[in-house]
Amino acid sequence: MQQELARRAREGDHDAFSALVRETLGRLYTTARLILRDPDRAEDAVQDALIEAWRDIRGLRDIDRLDAWLNRLLVRSCYRAAKRERRRTLTEIPLGPFHDGTRPDSVLPLADRDEIERAFQRLTQDQRTVLTLVYFADLSLADAAVALGIPIGTTKSRLHNALIALRAALAATERVPELKGGVA
């Protein structure tokens, strides 16, 4: 369905592009929010990416790579947004809770979910990006490599390192209550 919309959009059909945006906007926004950790910047990033998608969709030869291509535009847009934000202000990026109950709860227990969330927020943008592409956007390693604009071998090692970092962050997250408990 999305491929058909993309094919028509590539031929200049703006209505098809509008339908494609409607179908992909939520998922792309959530991807951007996971990467950037900030809802406002995520909205800006997804907006830029989809405007760029309309302008450049004639260059998308292989419609089956639509997902990877859109994610590539989004990732680039996220990095630009992060760069602009660094240039623009030195204020802290808000680390608001991700989960607001608008989607069904995952099967994880609440405490476990919070730990994963806190640990994820401690990762670098590169690490969050590769984990988001693979575990949220559900891209294959090859498509994640396209989205990141790096070779597949580098993607594999970046994913491996991100998982190690996540494990370390989880361990640190768990130790904080342990320490607090010891003092009390």
């Binding site: 592009f17 509008s18 989809l50 450049d56 004639r58 991700f98 994880l108 998982l163 989880l170 361990a171």
Partner: protein, 338 residues
């Protein structure tokens, strides 16, 4: 040792997948959707041969078919160069006719480009970095080139929608399209001792006389080091540059004409009154062009709405000097015609 230290990777991945599976949009995206659709409706799509280069760069180099594609593209480029040289030899100088409006103007032309060569930004056409652009409405005629969003990038840092009239041209920054770089030809000025029709020096003096909590800064004339980006103007002009840094907490949305300094629009034109006030950050480039004052204002959004409340609802930023300079650099090679 914690439980996570010994957690098998599969388990970690399962937990991560499970947590991510619960993520979803946490906000109403209707306005984002509307913005995207508005910005793309009527906007031109780039032809495939201009886009492909960007796609190939993003693809893992190990894939053989892309190597083949590179070779084909290189061959095509060589063929085009040969054809161009041949055509040049045959036709000689006759190629130097007026270019088609859809053809990007050369950025390094030694002769001064005219607005005839330029794309009118009111046409809703997406601009590329370095492309010669003009306004159909603003007077005096001006041309400029958009800067790339970041060096080497093919996107520009301008919102697709443009507001223009014979006295006002607003180039908005994509960050919410609230901050802007604005060309203003005031119908009259109401600012301290400046008089109704001041020149650049007189208005600069009046602005600098506004008491400011953080201090207005006289950055000197256009030729002063660092006053404006080096490539901002394509011609020599006389002008002055003044920076005024305001602070958000002090912004008084309900106070109109706070510092008794305004650029007045032509009555009935629909252009906004532009207030120059100490609680809003702005960078003013004041130029004398053909005996008239032109104000180029880089601002994080001014009090240029029908009411203070409306101005506040439009948003205003806390941009520092660096952000104002970024806005000033959204375009370059600015040139005013007769």
């Amino acid at each position: 040792m914690s439980a996570f230290d010994t957690m098998p990777t599969d388990d970690l991945e399962r937990r991560l997948s499970s947590w991510m599976g619960g993520q979803g949009p946490d906000t109403d995206l209707t306005s984002t959707y509307d913005t995207i659709i508005d910005a793309t409706r009527g906007a031109r799509q780039r032809p495939w041969f201009l886009v492909r280069r960007g796609i190939r760069r993003t693809t893992p180099m190990s894939e053989r078919r892309f190597a083949t594609e590179r070779a084909l593209t290189a061959g095509l480029a060589v063929l085009l160069v040969v054809l161009a040289i041949g055509a040049g030899l045959v036709i000689g100088g006759r190629l130097l006719t007026s270019p088609d409006e859809s053809t990007p103007a050369p950025s390094e032309s030694s002769s001064a480009p005219t607005s005839v060569d330029a794309l009118a930004i009111e046409n809703g056409i997406s601009l590329s970095p370095g492309q010669l652009a003009t306004s159909r409405l603003f007077q005096p005629t001006l041309t400029f080139r958009p800067s790339p969003r970041t060096p080497g990038e093919s996107a520009v840092d301008l919102c697709p929608s443009v507001e223009s009239s014979s006295r006002s041209l607003v180039l908005a920054h994509p960050k919410g399209c609230v901050e802007d770089l604005r060309f203003i030809r005031p119908w009259a000025v109401d600012c301290g001792s400046a008089g109704e029709h001041p020149d650049a020096d007189a208005l600069a003096t009046a602005i600098l006389a506004i008491p400011s909590t953080s201090g207005s800064t006289d950055l000197g004339d256009l030729q002063s080091a660092g006053a404006v980006p080096p490539a901002m103007f394509a011609d020599q002009y006389h002008g002055r540059v003044v920076e005024m840094l305001g602070y958000n907490p002090l912004f008084q949305a309900d106070v109109v004409n706070r510092d008794d300094c305004r650029l007045l629009p032509e009555p009935g034109s629909g252009d906004p009154v532009i207030e120059i006030r100490r609680d809003l950050s702005a960078l003013f480039v004041l130029i004398d062009v053909n005996g008239e004052l032109i104000v180029i204002r880089a601002s994080v959004a001014g009090h240029d709405a029908a009411s203070g409340g409306e101005a506040q609802s439009r948003g205003y930023g806390q941009g520092g000097s660096e952000q104002l300079r970024h806005l000033l650099g959204l375009v370059y090679d600015v040139r005013f015609g007769p």
